[in-house]
């Protein structure tokens, strides 16, 4: 009989292979439509909201990027929300406000991004609202490529493809690959109405729907995920424009990276907890998004526990052996690897073959079109393993009820 742990591995591999195959099939079936967007029949009015907290280094460049957007200026206004910054953000924003008539600044005490956005929405004149992080820089045509999707009245939000602006060290270079895969995966999910994140660097929402769902959730650490799930749960669609590009600043050091990912994990888990009752209800959202995201978290945790067990089982032999070495046991003489063909080895090979194939296609569609197999292997085996660290820390924070704000 198959023992318990082997059975757990088999279940993990089953769902792992199933999910990867979904993405591979989605790619091959829709690859010609990756970059296409619906044509714009009329330009809707858009209010661009830029929430900012201590962004003196980047806000001016962000606003300049917004001013360069190819979109009728009479249909566009920019609202900068200074969320109680303690640096020169407000001063820079006020200078920009004086210089450009369609820029408005709202100054408020620090209370978080969600409340800043909700306050700005009430002041926004546009039919659509675009949210742009104050350290992100949209391409000139980004908005034009996105708004055509709103011709479909079931669409309430559209997100963009986020790329990395700062590529200075190993961590940010890995994030270049990571952001490519994230964007590509999100685009593939678009083909099955399952875009479940409208990212902070650039997303556009139908204002009436955002107001209908009560705005951004101030209690969620990832208000962009939460509002997307809220919109989907109301039966609206969300889309992703792969050709609408926005560059963003990513964490440069490991500590900041872990902090950012802890926030993503915590916010994701908060959102799953809030909406899990909708599982297996309401179309693709209930039948795919919630089970897929929940399963991803669950399997990541189970995978981590299995890894710990494996390290313990294998490691304890080496530790005990090393102890006996002190008593005269020849440890090095008996180091051996028994590599027999087993069911789990077969499944592991299939899983990694599919995963590498999946990443390879994703990288082809990245900005660098990277096909270097060594980079793919380093990304798959090294960088992706690092995902476990913030996940475990996030779980620890949930266990200790430490849910402070994890942005800056």
């Amino acid at each position: 009989m198959v023992n318990f742990f082997t059975l757990v591995y088999i279940i993990l591999f089953f769902f792992g292979i199933f999910f990867i195959l979904i993405f591979i099939f989605l790619h091959y079936r829709n690859s010609k439509q990756l970059y296409s967007n619906p044509p714009i029949k009329s330009y809707p009015t858009i209010s661009i909201l830029v929430p900012a907290y201590n962004e003196e280094d980047s806000i001016e460049e962000t606003v300049k990027a917004l001013l360069r957007l190819r979109y009728p200026t009479n249909k566009l206004d920019i609202i900068i929300i200074n969320d109680g910054s303690t640096d020169n953000t407000l001063k820079i924003a006020k200078t920009l406000e004086k210089k450009y008539s369609h820029i408005k600044v709202i100054n408020k005490p620090n209370s978080g991004k969600a409340l800043s956005l909700n306050l700005a929405i009430n002041n926004a004149k546009g039919e659509l609202i675009a949210v742009v992080d104050a350290d992100s820089y949209p391409n000139k045509d980004a908005l034009k490529r996105m708004v055509g999707h709103f011709e479909d009245h079931s669409v309430a939000a559209i997100t963009s493809r986020v790329l990395v602006k700062n590529k200075n060290n190993w961590l940010s270079r890995f994030q270049v690959l990571d952001y490519s895969i994230i964007a590509w995966t999100r685009k593939l999910l678009d083909f099955v109405d399952s875009v479940y994140v409208t990212n902070g660097p650039l997303s556009v929402y139908r204002k009436s729907v955002v107001q209908k769902v009560g705005g951004f959730d101030q209690h969620n650490l990832t208000e962009d995920i939460e509002i997307t799930w809220h919109i989907l749960s109301e039966g609206y669609n969300t889309r992703m424009s792969y050709s609408a590009i926005v560059y963003t600043i990513v964490p440069q050091d490991f500590k900041s990276w872990v902090k950012q990912r802890i926030r993503w994990n915590l916010g994701g888990l908060q959102t799953v907890k809030k909406y899990w009752r909708t599982m297996f209800k309401k179309g693709a959202f209930g039948y795919f998004v919630i089970p897929y995201v929940s399963a991803s978290f669950f399997f990541a945790i189970v995978g981590f526990l299995l890894l710990i067990r494996l390290l313990w089982v294998k490691g304890s032999y080496h530790l005990v052996s090393l102890y006996y070495t002190l008593l005269g046991y020849d440890y090095w003489k008996y180091l051996e690897i028994n590599l027999y063909i087993t069911l789990l080895l077969i499944l592991t090979c299939i899983f990694f073959f599919l995963a590498i194939w999946y990443y390879k296609i994703g990288f082809v569609h990245s900005e660098t079109g990277n096909k270097n197999i060594l980079k793919i292997l380093a990304y798959s085996f090294f960088y992706r393993s690092l995902y476990l660290i913030p996940l475990i820390l996030a779980l620890y924070k949930i266990a200790t009820k430490d849910l402070r704000w994890y942005t800056k």
Binding site: F18, F25, L26, W312, V320, Y334, T342, L343
Partner: protein, 233 residues
């Protein structure tokens, strides 16, 4: 128009097909390994019977033919030991069926028979060789015990490599039951040996039926016990 959600069912179908193929391949590879062990067992069973009959003969006849009997005994013991190690490795690798576990019991009984045969031969032929019987647990409860048993097994392997045809090494699982259920009784012949040699914990090593060592002992210690039994012969 084809539904865009059909892709989920197609992916599920392909996943199931991949799993069926992987399972069939896994079962095929495992059955190859099990069959190899079963086939070897059939040969060893005949060899063991032959050896037993030879032993009857040597018990009745004079000790002139001891060297021939010892040679036969060693060849058989060494083959059984090598096959036992292979069986252990196969057992770790087999994840679908537990057929090998059943085979393991047969091998344990065969090794016990060989041990008894060796005792008789030693008596008849004036102790021309040494026996090291390693009684271990087939169902270790902790990782520490698993590791400890592996260390002891390797240490004994090293002693065997040094002494070659002077030592018969017999690793025997000391806690196997007749059936698979926990209610089934333990194998009687092994229980009897444990009682005779007063073995209360596993793993233990019996050296020339005189010394019982519990837990880990270094190569040097085991060799010194072997030498001690020689001096008391």
């Amino acid at each position: 128009m084809q539904s865009k959600f059909r892709i989920f069912f197609e992916s599920l179908l392909v996943t199931v097909v991949i799993f069926v193929i992987a399972f069939l391949l896994g079962i095929f590879v495992e059955s190859l390994r099990t069959n190899k062990i079963i086939e070897s067992y059939k040969d060893y069973e005949i060899e063991a019977l032959d050896l037993k009959l030879q032993n009857y003969y040597y018990q009745i006849m004079d000790s002139q033919s001891c060297s021939q009997a010892i040679k036969q005994n060693f060849i058989f013991a060494d083959n059984l030991y090598t096959k036992g190690l292979e069986l252990e490795r196969y057992e770790e690798a087999n994840q679908i069926s537990d057929d090998l576990f059943r085979e393991k019991k047969r091998y344990v009984l065969l090794k016990t028979e060989l041990w008894l045969n060796s005792i008789l031969l030693k008596k008849k032929c004036n102790n021309p060789f040494d026996t090291i019987v390693y009684i271990y647990s087939a169902d270790p409860k902790t990782n520490i015990q698993v590791a400890q048993q592996k260390v002891i097994s390797n240490t004994l392997k090293s002693v065997k490599e040094q002494y070659g045809n002077k030592v018969i090494l017999l690793p025997i699982a000391g806690d196997l039951r007749i059936g698979n259920s926990q209610e089934e009784p333990f194998l009687g012949s092994i229980e009897l040996q444990k009682e005779i040699y007063n073995i209360s914990s596993l793993p233990s090593i019996i050296i020339n039926e005189k010394f019982v060592l519990e837990g880990f002992h270094t190569e040097e210690e085991i060799i010194s016990y072997l030498n001690m039994t020689k001096s008391t012969k």
